[in-house]
Structure formats: structure tokens, C-alpha cells
């Protein structure tokens, strides 16, 4: 006899059957039948957040750290609309989350009922797909499809909007969770075309000035290992996008650092002068390419991506490969070995050695901290704080960031040897992402070291979650690079608006963050000089604070800028390297 369950019970059972660990949510009228069903079970743990936007970021942080979809549950109307920023953030960075929203009863749809919003309509441009459940019997299949769609192909957010009557506790239906799902309209590609792979390997082997440019697709596609094997086999240089950090070991000498707007001198120059660029799981975002018309003038492009629409969207690919990164790269590696066996001299070693000498020359003269080295002790620099955190965590932490200068400093100075350790809002650039994303990662890995590098501006966009951190005893370490300003905005105003700081400062209106953290029951520290830094950082990462959230308010040089910075509208070799240094010298 099939089991008879209400719609609400089916929904929760389906989540159990899908293996969901956590639901990040917030209750309200339209979701109350579902909340009652949650109350009656133990398998799925519900996490009560303080703002629905944060719930979406938590689910997103969980997804980025684990590769499994994060799940959100909210009520209709404001509960649903509050998740939109979080959904859009996941959409831009292609991360799998499933958002379940309550909805007014079916017979009230379209009547402007209390707390009614057209959630499917409002979220439409920022989801991979969405479902409006028409009756309770559809629930198991809707859940099955939602998880399948969210996690497969190019991942993304999926919304399931559930009218209250579909969760009526008194109407029971036969429950069976579908084993698999087949959709005639949705068949994501897996393996890349073997002919294209052959052609790509041939071009790679013939390269004299190659660069491997990899992005979030390598991290999300669990392809870091395959990519690393290829790069090491070839001994070719690798650069990562902001989303791709950790896709190749940050401490490997073949790693050139991040590229793009705030990319390293050597990464951007290598791209500019390359003859073959192998783009993997990267989408030629405008923050990378700067002016597409001037982008990498002498390069041929191999572009591997799971989403055909990403290929040749901005820069035409010479060899397009549609495929999931891991199987396609594994296929390439096999092909590479075959070629090298047949012809061990296929790679022009002299040319590659000469290329490395050029790159190392760039790195030596104008590498990341060439300017910092010359500046001495005071005032405290944000880069020094990130480096201290890097040392204290041995480079092994999960690091989330908010958006602004602090995000770029974290990306530049924390070297990630593993994928999924660096978690930031690259595509949408959502201030307020850092803390809830760190919470999602900490829920996923309770024993791991999780660090949130934030700025005081971003932090104040979701700081209410300090209360949630207390409730669930999350021992996150928050590093607040406090420059008493919307630093990144101020930097642009310095560089492009004659130093007119229109609404980018709030110096005398900031809270005492140490006291703020304490009021939520957490530990707080403040540091503003280099000599104190190492000791304070060592203490907050010591066993003493192993089980507590610690907030470090680091008062840094408010005038520091992020460099390198690409010159607007220029090519990749056009950057400003230091505050007074002007444009980089022609190499």
C-alpha cells in the first residue's frame, strides 16, 4: 500500500529523500502547513535566519562549499521577494540553490490577496527555472526536477512556488519519490566532442606563448584535479578568474594569480602577449577582458564550457568545446598523453622556456607586493591583514568575502590550493553576501576553519545574522577590513572623479564593532598597527576561540587603493600599478 501524505508532508519527505541536510528559512502564513510538517520530523534540519536574503546566501555558501544544492524555505510576498538578491547572486555565479516559497491559495491567485506576489514572475529573469505547483500531487516530481535542474549542466537557482492549498494537511495523496527524471527538453551535454578535443590538444601543443585561463566552471565542475594535471604535464602558466581561484593551486609556481581588472601584472601581460589561450569554464566577463576589441590581439582561443551560450558570446572561439569541464579535461589529458607518446618533442620547449623567462621577469619586477615591500610599517595595510590570516590558517580555510576593496585584497593575497575554498559574489557583486555565505559553509563543514573577510559597509548589510550565528554556535572568524568608507567606491572617485567623495564615507557614524559583536554574545577584537597584528590574529585562530565566533575589527589605511587596476577601455596590458606610479611601463 502506498503511503498517504499531505502536500506539506510530501514536500518535506521529498527533501529528505533528496538527501537535504539543511533548510535555511523563515516562516510566515503561506508556509505554515510546511512548517508544521517540518516540526514533526528530524531528518532535515531547519535553520532559522534573520532575513530571507541571508537564507538564500547561506544556501548558496553551502552549495559552493559542497557542490550540493542549498535549500531555502520562505513565505509568500515579502518573504519571497527578500530572497531575490540571493537568487540573482546564485544565478550570476551559476550555483545550485532551490528556493521553496509559500504562495497564497490557488483560488486567490491574481486577486492581490494579502502577501501575494507573482514569485514566478518576479524571479523569472534570475532563475534557471521555476515551478508553480498547481496541485499537491505534483509536489514530488517538482522537487525531483528542481534538484536535477539546479545541479546539472550549468548549475543555477530553481524556485518552487507552492500555493497554501497544495500543502493542506487534511488532503492526502499517494507518495512516491521519483527515482529518476528524464526531460525531453533538457539534456545537458557531458563529454566534449572528440574531434574538437583532438584539435584543441594539437593547438595547445603547438603553442609558443600559451596561457590557461580558468574560471568558476572548473571549481563548480569539480575539474580542478584534471586541469592541474594538464597544466603540470605541459608546464604551461595558469591564471584564474575571481570565480576560478582554487581551480589551480595558488602556491604552484605555474600560477600567475588572478587576471582582469585587479589581476596581477604577470597574468594580464601573459594574456595580452599569448599566442594560444585555453579558456576553461570562464566566460570572458567584462571585468576580465576590459575592451574586447583590444583583448589579446595575437591569441587563438580554445574555449571549453558546459554552456554553449557562453562560447563565442564575447570573444569568438577558434576551437569551441561544449562539455562538462571534468570529463572533457580528462579526455584532453588522455589525448595529450597519446600525442606526447607518439611525439615526445611535440612541445617546443625552447619557446616555452623563453616564455617562462619573460613571465618571470614581469613577476619579479611588478609582482603583487612590489609596492608594499617598499612601504614599511605604518599604517596597517589591508594586504598585511590578509597575509596574516593566510599564515594563521595555513592557507586551508574556507574564505568568504563581501564586495569591495577587501574582496580584491582577499582574492589577491590569500592563495587557494584547493577548489571550493574561496567563496565570493563575483558576478552580481552583492554586498552582504560574506557573512551568510560563511554560515552556509560552516554548516556544511562544522569542524572546518571558516573566515569571512568583509568591509564595514558590506558587513552592515547582513549583520543581523550575528544572532543566527549565536543560536547555532557557528565559530566563524570575521575579519573586518575597516577603512571607514565604501572603499571601492571611494577609490573610483579618487581615480575618475577628481577625489570628490560623493556619499562614500560615514566616518563618525560607525558602530563600535567590538561592542556590537559582544552584544550578540560573540568575541570582538580591534587592531590598528602592524606590530600587534600577528599576535591578535594568532589568538583569534587559537584553540581558545575554536568554538566561538570572533569579530576582528582591523582599522586599516583608509587611503589604500587596490592595484593593479586596469585602465578603462584599454587592453589587458594597460594597468595602473601604484598610487603615484601611473600606467605600467611598456614591457
Amino acid at each position: 500500500m502506498a503511503e498517504m501524505l499531505s502536500g506539506a508532508d510530501m514536500l518535506v519527505r521529498a527533501l529528505q529523500d533528496e538527501g537535504v541536510e539543511y533548510l535555511f528559512g523563515y516562516p510566515g502564513g503561506a508556509a505554515l502547513h510546511i512548517y508544521d510538517a517540518i516540526f514533526k520530523q528530524q531528518k532535515v534540519e531547519h535553520i532559522l535566519v534573520r532575513h530571507e536574503q541571508a537564507a538564500a546566501h547561506m544556501a548558496d555558501g553551502y552549495a559552493r562549499a559542497t557542490g550540493r544544492p542549498g535549500v531555502v524555505l520562505v513565505t509568500s510576498g515579502p518573504g519571497a521577494t527578500n530572497t531575490i538578491t540571493g537568487i540573482a547572486t546564485a544565478h550570476m555565479d551559476s550555483t545550485p540553490i532551490v528556493v521553496i516559497s509559500g504562495q497564497v491559495p490557488t483560488d486567490q491567485l491574481g486577486t492581490d490577496a494579502f502577501q501575494e506576489t507573482d514569485m514566478v514572475g518576479v524571479s523569472r529573469p534570475v532563475v534557471k527555472h521555476s515551478f508553480l505547483v498547481r496541485n499537491a500531487a505534483e509536489i514530488p516530481m517538482a522537487v525531483k526536477k528542481a534538484f536535477y535542474i539546479a545541479a546539472s549542466g550549468r548549475p543555477g537557482p530553481v524556485v518552487i512556488d507552492v500555493p497554501k492549498d497544495a500543502t493542506d494537511p487534511n488532503a492526502k495523496f499517494e507518495y512516491a519519490y521519483p527515482k529518476d527524471v528524464a526531460m525531453r527538453s533538457y539534456n545537458p551535454v557531458a563529454h566534449g566532442h572528440s574531434g574538437q578535443i583532438r584539435a584543441a590538444v594539437k593547438l595547445l601543443l603547438a603553442a609558443k606563448r600559451p596561457v590557461i585561463y580558468s574560471g568558476g566552471g572548473v571549481v563548480q565542475g569539480d575539474a580542478a584535479e584534471a586541469l592541474t594535471a594538464i597544466a603540470r604535464r605541459l608546464d604551461y602558466p595558469v591564471t584564474n578568474t575571481l570565480m576560478g581561484l582554487g581551480g589551480f593551486p595558488g602556491t604552484d609556481r605555474r600560477f600567475l594569480g588572478m587576471l582582469g581588472l585587479h589581476g596581477t601584472f604577470e597574468a594580464n601581460l601573459a594574456m595580452h602577449h599569448a599566442d594560444v589561450i585555453f579558456a576553461v569554464g570562464a566566460r570572458f566577463d567584462d571585468r576580465v577582458t576590459n575592451n574586447p576589441a583590444k583583448f589579446c590581439p595575437s591569441a587563438k582561443f580554445i574555449h571549453l564550457d558546459v554552456d554553449p551560450a557562453s562560447i563565442s558570446k564575447i570573444i569568438p572561439a577558434d576551437i569551441p568545446i561544449v562539455g562538462a569541464a571534468a570529463p572533457a579535461l580528462t579526455g584532453m589529458l588522455g589525448r595529450l598523453e597519446t600525442e606526447l607518446e607518439r611525439n615526445p618533442d611535440a612541445i617546443d620547449r625552447d619557446a616555452i622556456d623563453a616564455w617562462w623567462r619573460r613571465i618571470d621577469g614581469w613577476r619579479g619586477r611588478f609582482g603583487l607586493d612590489h609596492d608594499q615591500r617598499a612601504r614599511g610599517d605604518a599604517p596597517l595595510l589591508p594586504q598585511q591583514v590578509v597575509q596574516a590570516v593566510y599564515r594563521a590558517t595555513r592557507g586551508e580555510a574556507y574564505v568568504t568575502a563581501d564586495v569591495g576593496q577587501h574582496q580584491m585584497f582577499a582574492a589577491q593575497y590569500y592563495l587557494f590550493d584547493e577548489p571550493r575554498r574561496w567563496i565570493n559574489s563575483g558576478g552580481l557583486g552583492t554586498m552582504g553576501f560574506g557573512l551568510p555565505a560563511a554560515m552556509g559553509a560552516q554548516f556544511a563543514f562544522p569542524d572546518a576553519q571558516v573566515v569571512c573577510v568583509t568591509g564595514e559597509g558590506s558587513f552592515m548589510m547582513n549583520m543581523q545574522e550575528l544572532s543566527t550565528c549565536m543560536q547555532y554556535a557557528l565559530p566563524i572568524k570575521i575579519i573586518n577590513l575597516n577603512n571607514q568608507a565604501l572603499g571601492m567606491v571611494k577609490q573610483w572617485q579618487d581615480m575618475q572623479y577628481g577625489g570628490r567623495h560623493s556619499h562614500s564615507t560615514y566616518k563618525d557614524a560607525l558602530p563600535d564593532f567590538v561592542a556590537l559583536a559582544a552584544s550578540f554574545g560573540h568575541a570582538g577584537f580591534r587592531v590598528d598597527t602592524l606590530p600587534e597584528l600577528e599576535a591578535v590574529v594568532a589568538e583569534i585562530f587559537s584553540d581558545k576561540y575554536k568554538d566561538r565566533l570572533v569579530f576582528l575589527d582591523a582599522w586599516i589605511d583608509p587611503d589604500e587603493h587596490v592595484y593593479p587596476m586596469a585602465i578603462k577601455g584599454g587592453a589587458m596590458n594597460e594597468m595602473v600599478l601604484t598610487r603615484n606610479g601611473g600606467p605600467a611601463p611598456p614591457p
Binding site: V120, G121, R124, P125, H129, R184, S185, Y186, A309, S312
Partner: protein, 165 residues
Amino acid sequence: MSARRIIAVLLENEAGALSRIIGLFAQRNYNIESLTVAPTEDETLSRLTLTTCGDESTIEQVTKQLNKLIEVVKVVDLTDGDHIERELMLVKVRAEGAQRPEIKRVADIFRGQIVDLTPDAYTVQLTGPSEKLDAFIRAIGRAAVLEVARSGVSGIGRGDAMMRL
């Protein structure tokens, strides 16, 4: 080089599917000149024909982005091959006294039919490629046209070219 394209789409006949297509065009700043949609002989599928224009890379993006929509089953750019293109137009034309035989004659030349009439107007039904319908309106003269209802373009490949699952 911007060219007019006729794109046929098979999609799941589900609530909300059409709004995703229209939303996609709005969101990505693609233009739609006309759009027609109706269920097919298989009632689980709808067929949609849309005309748009853009250069080659824009049209490539349009078809790729359409294919990405979960409910879209198949996308074919009919303008890539030989195809038949038809549009239906119902047009109310002022037709009084001596004008009446003249209007009738023009309608005949365009193989139109008069499907309704009043003492001072004809309603003419015409089918054909869009340019033919445009030409009819020019021939009658804008001043005489009282009301126009056009269906938008519907299209199908010629010969053995078949768009099915």
C-alpha cells in the same frame, strides 16, 4: 550585417513557458517583430514562430539562449534553409460607391477574399508572405484602411526538412 530571421520553436505546452520566451527577448535586448504561438497536433507541445533581426552573432546568441530555456524542446532558424512563410491579415477597408469594384479588383489581384461587408466597408482576408500583405496596404492606400489585424508570421521548412522530436 543585420538580417531578418524566422525562428521556429517547439516548446512544452505549459503555463508560463511563453512568458519565459518573451522575457528572454526583453531581458537580453533582442527585438521581436512578430510572434505566433499555438498548440501542435501533439497537444503537449506548442509551436512558436518568431521573426527578429540581428547580425549573425546576435542570432547565434538568440538561438542558444532559447535552447537554454528548460521548456524549449527544439529551435530551428528557418531562414537557414528553404522555407515557406505565411501571415494572415484581416483588413477593414473603406469601400463606398464607385470605390467598391476597385477595392474588389485589388483584393482579387492579391488573391484576397472579402469575408464581410457593410454599405461602406469591406473586410478583406489575405494570406501570404509579410511583404505581400504590406504591398496590399500600399495598393489600397493608407487613407482607405480602417483597421488591420495581422497574425504574425508562421513558417515551415520546404521539402523533407522536418521539425519534430
